[in-house]
């Protein structure tokens, strides 16, 4: 009969109305600023820089290779390399970013910077309460604001951070083992090493001049190993993970 459905609907809403006073489980919303829902592990918002240890300036994993700066689709990252070097987590001396700014009003949270980073230095943050009354400065995060400890990274993305830590530890162990074998080899065949050392400088300046921005450790060697051609195209060598994103930059 006509009107039956309306009565059924009215009964349903009345049940919800009364039920919302009786049982807390019915309420689908939470009182946001006071209580919050736990964020899902995969949630992401804007990038941050990971540092190891206590001192953010010393422990910064970033080596200012500028791959992320180049890959960033909306170009929201700005990096200035340092003149001096500091040891990285392995102990190798590396350049570090003297300036690392991300304009989060431009950032589109695509995570490409995280994917291209060979050093696990940039990760996605879950922080979303970023509103500010300063329209220009407030949304331009500098090095200090971006730096977050590895513990914080573990807190927001536990699974991912554990994987990253395992990978880094493996790398470090490998590097140490290599250093050990290297030193052993050095001791064994000094003459051979001298010949290698004579060959290496002749190649590395070529790669260095061709790709002045890519200060990454393994890349110039790779680029130089492939062919002399990349020297003419400075943007080519860093594209190891995403080969076909852009033409000449």
């Amino acid at each position: 009969m006509l009107g039956e459905g309306i009565l059924k609907g009215l009964a349903e809403t009345a049940r919800n109305f009364a039920g919302s006073f009786v049982s807390k489980e019915r309420l689908t919303t939470v009182e946001y600023p006071e209580e919050r829902l736990p964020l899902p592990e995969a949630s992401r918002n804007f990038p941050f820089l990971v540092y190891d240890g206590q001192d953010w300036e010393k422990g910064l994993r970033c080596v200012a290779c500028q791959i992320c700066e180049k890959e960033c689709p909306p170009k929201c990252i700005y990096i200035e390399k340092s003149k001096d070097k500091k040891p990285d987590f392995v102990g190798k001396p590396q350049i570090y970013p003297a300036k690392f700014d991300i304009d989060i009003s431009v950032c589109m949270s695509c995570q490409i910077c995280v994917e291209v980073c060979p050093f696990e230095a940039i990760k996605m943050n879950t922080e979303f309460e970023l509103s500010t009354d300063d329209r220009f400065g407030g949304l331009l995060l500098d090095r200090k604001e971006l730096a977050k400890s590895n513990e914080y990274y573990h807190q927001i993305h536990p699974t991912e951070a554990t994987e990253v830590d395992a990978r880094l530890a493996e790398e470090k162990a490998k590097a140490e083992a290599k250093a050990r074998t290297d030193s052993a080899a050095k001791a064994k065949a000094a003459a051979d090493a001298a010949a290698k050392a004579a060959a290496a400088p002749s190649k590395s300046p070529e790669g260095g001049t061709g790709t002045p921005t890519s200060a990454a450790t393994k890349l110039p060697a790779q680029a130089a190993a492939k062919s002399p051609e990349p020297a003419a195209k400075p943007a080519e060598p860093p594209k190891t993970s995403t080969p076909k994103t852009e033409g000449g930059d």
């Binding site: 009969m1 006509l2 459905g5 309306i6 609907g9 009215l10 349903e12 809403t13 009345a14 919800n16 109305f17 039920g19 919302s20 006073f21 019915r26 309420l27 689908t28 919303t29 009182e31």
Partner: protein, 391 residues
């Protein structure tokens, strides 16, 4: 004592007027009543907006506004301050004069309806012979304001909203009038005071409200449907369907002009609830004879607020109709039913007192309903919704 409390506002007014110089007495008397109406109903508007937001929230298993003041009861104050301090934007292409006049005329006309509503014993602002006619004349005038708002904004959503609103209001004005005509036929008067007086009688402790007669119940339901459509409330809120037309005819309004439309909508709702209460629920009369010691104005306002709560409940329950469903429902179900109902009132009137008329009139209403629904279902006018392109 009882009668003093009942007549407290009337006595207060007389007392104030008596202290005025003789030349000003009539003006002051009218002004006092007008000021009271203009103060009380916007206050009720604030309360009903809060009720609506809280109630709808609860129906959707939310808490509703609860930030401003304890339990969010100061939310309307915050909203009012916000709309007063907001920038008033007039679109470049808009017709500035008409754009300005639309909300003003709407609010003015909506408040006029209160002039004839009896809000308590001896609490009618204007005792008018043709009070019901006056009320409907004022109600019909709001359509023009809606049109003015939609047309002057130079916005296609506004214009579409206005066209929808006007078509809907014209269609549902007919059943609104026809369902009220039943009451006029039964009482033999267009005066709302007289209509309340007729209903303010008791037999066996029960009142002679028109809703407790077979034709009155049918009329009341039809009146409620038509009134809901007339005030553009859900499920008949096509003119301001947020998902289709942004805000309908007042899309291009901001700041206090927007607030004026909002006010007009709710004040119109309150006034049509008051009219419904007056026509069918006995106005200011008590529901049981032993409850007559409670002041009459309390009964009137509680009936109005109860109607508002039912409207909120309906809004929380029903989805919006489609335009063709709306028109089919009005012209092919509601209007024929009101006409049949008028026949029922005539039968009731001329059968005289006795139990026979109860049976006959109930039978007429039930048969009319069954026949109308069967016919409608067969012709698919009011069938359950079919999805032609979905699925």
């Amino acid at each position: 004592m009882v009668s003093t409390l009942d007549q407290i506002f009337v006595l207060l007014k007389h007392w104030i007027v008596a202290h005025m110089p003789a030349a000003l007495q009539s003006v002051v008397g009218v002004l006092l009543s007008v000021v009271c109406i203009i103060a009380v109903f916007p206050a009720l508007f604030a309360i009903s907006v809060l009720l609506e937001r809280k109630g709808l929230g609860r129906m959707q298993n939310r808490l509703g506004p609860n930030r401003v003041g304890p339990f969010g009861i100061l939310q309307p104050v915050a909203d009012g301050i916000k709309s007063l301090t907001k920038e008033d934007i007039v679109p470049v292409g808009a017709d500035r004069v008409v754009h300005f006049l639309a909300p003003v005329s709407m609010v003015a006309v909506v408040f006029m309806g209160y002039a004839v509503l009896p809000m308590g014993r001896n609490m009618t602002l204007v005792h008018m012979d043709a009070a019901l006619l006056f009320y409907f004349a004022m109600g019909a005038s709001t359509e023009l304001s809606v049109f003015m708002a939609g047309w002057s904004s130079r916005n296609k959503y506004s214009l579409l909203g206005a066209m929808r609103a006007v078509a809907q209001m014209i269609s549902y004005e007919v059943p609104l009038l026809l369902s009220s005509v039943g009451v006029v036929m039964a009482t033999g008067s267009l005066s709302l005071d007289k209509i309340v007086e007729v209903q303010n009688q008791y037999s066996f402790g029960l009142p002679h409200w028109f809703i407790f007669t077979p034709w009155g119940l049918a009329s009341f339901v039809l009146f409620a449907i038509a009134a809901t459509a007339e005030t553009n409330r859900s499920p008949f809120d096509l003119p301001e369907g947020e998902s289709e037309l942004v805000a309908g005819y007042f899309t291009e309004y901001s700041g206090f002009k927007f607030a004026e439309f909002f006010l007009a909508e709710y004040v119109g709702m309150l006034s049509v609830s008051g009219l419904g209460a007056t026509l069918f629920l006995g106005g200011w009369s008590a529901p049981f004879s032993f409850l007559q010691f409670i002041p009459s104005w309390i009964w009137f306002f509680s009936k109005v607020m109860l109607s508002i709560c039912v409207l909120i409940w309906l809004r929380g329950t029903l989805p919006r109709l489609r335009q063709d469903q709306l028109m089919n429902f009005a012209w092919k179900f509601v209007i024929p039913f009101t006409l049949l109902n008028l026949v029922d009132v005539a039968v009731w009137r001329f059968m005289g007192e006795g139990w026979a008329r109860w049976i006959v009139c109930s039978a007429i209403v039930v048969i009319a309903y069954v026949v109308m629904v069967r016919a409608g279902m067969r012709r698919k006018n009011i069938a359950p919704r079919t999805y032609r392109y979905a699925e």
